[in-house]
Amino acid sequence: MKMNCVSFESFIALLVEGDLNEADRRGVEKHLEECSDCSVLFVELQESQAAFKALRQGMVNAGAISEVRARVLNDVGDLDPAPAWVVVMHRLLFAGLRRRAAIATVAVGVLLLGGLWLGLTKHQMQTEVKLAAHDEPVVPVNVAAEEEFVKPVKTDKALPRPRRHRTVTEKPDNRVAAQSDSIQFPIKFVTDDPNIIIYWLPSDKGD
């Protein structure tokens, strides 16, 4: 048998009873046309399947069945059926779902709600921190660079980790600066929140 045929065996076993999808079926049938070994395997599988299908004809005899029936009905006579309130509660609680499916659905719902609540709380806290940071003075390190790390400002309140901000600076024109040293340029800081933009006007002393 070729190595390639070994990988086809399980597909041929499925093809016998039509358990393959259209693409796989075509591929296996094409292989069968080319490979005599696999064609023999296919025929043998058909024969063994036919033999097992013949077992469907054998049925349990009436004596064995009536024995089971007698035992069941005898036992059921001693049992009480589920009370009506249990039936109603079950339908209300599980709404026709399987017990495990219903419990899993409730668990997923609880997890989703918990995640949503946590997300909202975190967002709210971040907004408060940003608003607080807006009120505090911000000290830039190097205003000339186009991209800078904005160092965290020491405040009493906890601030988020320093992040790389894109600092948009209106660069002073060297020619204009040469003409007048006294001209001051505003510095614009862009924060995480697009609604909060900080402008800083440095004085002559640089504070």
């Binding site: 299908k53 004809q57 064995a64 024995e67 009905l73």
Partner: protein, 218 residues
């Protein structure tokens, strides 16, 4: 005295379904009637439950026998299946088909019983006495019948050599004739898993038959 039948026990969903179904279709009429029987059984009618037992006992016992390979165990399993049916029938959704639910219950009971049996050191067995409790398709040719009987015993012995999961999938799919999707539902697994199990089982059975009859390819 009122001549109106008491229909208070009928589930409203069942009544609605009975109105929407084709009245002239015998299969749907029988199905509607059976759902009414189920609804009565849920409300505690023991006569209705007996009708359910009578309708499904052969199927349940045969399936149990094929899964367990022992008539004694199969009878115990079938008894347990119907007792669980009585106990948990209120959990069954009356708008869904009943037979898949019962097959799944039977498979679960047989698994439990098989597990207990393997703990006791017993395996999938078949005795001469147990085989006598099977009705064979009677033919006029006694030799053909004998040959058929011998072949049947051989096949069940080969079946016994399969691992439990593969045997269950193979029995449901290839002997009981369920579809792959129905088999997967009964086993509580995916169709891909069932396909893998039945593919492996078919190859093993083909190999075992070829070996027992001196086949060409091993």
């Amino acid at each position: 005295m009122s001549t109106q039948p008491n229909t208070s026990w009928i589930d409203p969903a069942t009544l609605w379904m009975s109105r929407t179904r084709q009245e002239d279709d015998p299969a749907s009429v029988a199905e509607t009637e059976f759902r009414q029987v189920l609804a009565r059984a849920v409300s505690g009618d023991s006569r209705a439950f007996e009708q359910i037992v009578v309708r499904h006992e052969r199927r349940v016992l045969t399936l149990s026998w094929r899964l367990l390979g022992s008539m004694e165990d199969a009878q115990d399993a079938a008894q347990e299946v119907f007792l669980r049916t009585f106990k948990y029938l209120h959990r069954f959704d009356l708008q869904k088909p009943f037979e898949p639910w019962l097959v799944r219950l039977t498979v679960n009971v047989c698994r439990d019983l098989g597990r207990k049996r393997s703990e006791r050191g017993l395996v999938f067995v078949e005795s001469e006495e147990q085989l006598d409790r099977f009705d064979l398709a009677s033919t006029s040719d006694p030799f053909a019948e004998l040959q058929s009987e011998q072949q049947r015993r051989m096949l069940y012995r080969l079946l016994a050599s399969l691992p439990e999961k593969e045997r269950t999938a193979f029995v449901l799919r290839d002997i009981e004739g369920l579809s792959t999707a129905e088999t997967a539902e009964a086993l509580g697994s995916s169709e891909a898993t069932v396909r893998s199990q039945i593919s492996s089982a078919r190859l093993k059975m083909r190999k075992a038959i070829a070996k027992s009859s001196g086949g060409r390819r091993q």
